[in-house]
Amino acid sequence: MHSFGVPSWRDHDLTFDPSLPTEGINVSRVHPLREALILVFGVIGVTVATVASIGFVVDWVAPSIPPKYEVYLFSDWFEAEEPAAAPKPRAEALRAVLDRVSVHWPDSEYRFRVQIWDQAEPNALALPGGTIAVTEGLLDAVTSENELAFVLGHELGHFHNRDHLRGLGRGVGMSLVLFAVGIGGGGGAAQLAAIAGQLTQRGFDRDQESAADEFGLGLVAAEYGHTAGASDLFEHLRATSDASALASYLSTHPLHGDRVIRLEAVARAAGWPLTGERSALGSKLEAPSDPSSETEPAADPVSTE
């Protein structure tokens, strides 16, 4: 050891034979992957818990908000929609099917409207405020009235369950969470939270789709006395689409195959007959026989947003 009384080198009071820096004192001996695991799972856990809590609160509050207020809230969202390009008879026939189905939800506070969109992909959307949009492609793809009735019933289910309001509430909550994480931890943390949050949201989305399916199936059973034909559309689409396992996991809607099985289970549990006679579509709704207008079904046939 040196004496530091009076620093003096030449007098040999102070020798210069310093040791090298010791490793592991100024740098913690922790494997960075261990640190990474703890932090990543910490952020995922906090995000999932927060997003899920917001989701449950929103689901709890949404039913107590009157539909009138919901219509007002979304009133300027879809004004710029393309006008119905379909010939009037088709829209009127669609309207008639909707009326036949919606009559089994008598205490609805919505005033429903239908729109036909000139798109080849089979799709149906429940627009906030009470409008149901159906694409030409979907009308071309359905083969019976029961099939179409279930699609409309599913969309009515989204109104019944206040899914737009719940989706909006969850979206706002998610934005707030991501904003907070971004402020606190920067872009990388926000990206991680976004992935964790979106996977959490998918759980809610899937529940929403299942609930809408159940509601729609109930309307179909009430109108026709059986649920035959309700899942025909998904059978058609399953035969043509090649959604990979990952794609189906990431998609908002449950797998077509799962959906068919689920619908059968719901019908069985409710005691609704699975078989019966399918009603014809009627000439006004049927697809034009021109072969050039054949459509390719999309992988994601029925969406709400």
Partner: protein, 161 residues
Amino acid sequence: MEDAMGIAVLQVGIPLALLLLGYFVGGAVERRHYASIQERELRWRSLPAVNFRTVPGGWIVDDATLVLGNVVISVDYFKRFLAGLRMLFGGRVKVYESLMDRARREALVRLKVETVERGYHALVNVRMETSQLASGRGGSGVAGIEVLAYGTALKLRTPPT
């Protein structure tokens, strides 16, 4: 659907690729840097470098000058990502400790090299300064850190052997 898949792949894939790049390449760079630091610390070990503010008694000084050793080290995406997560919870930012350690030691080694190359024999009043370089993107991120080591280099009448 395919668009959504593509976006999901981009959203997950690009940060993941950056993380892997940071972890493997950044880790290799760090190990090589440490090896180089340790080798040069050993080589310049005997050059006196102290933070006394005065010349030690008994030294006969012929010349003195200010010398600087400076280094800038960048943060890899892996470290930056973990530091961001750490900022949410608080606690020791362990991934940045090695960054600071390397920068301080590199700056000191450079200070010694500068001293020797200019023909001086010893360093007193050694000090260090650290500053953070903000990244270009709005100046919010950390692009890297700078450590400046400076001191007074002395030319001695009787150089140490």
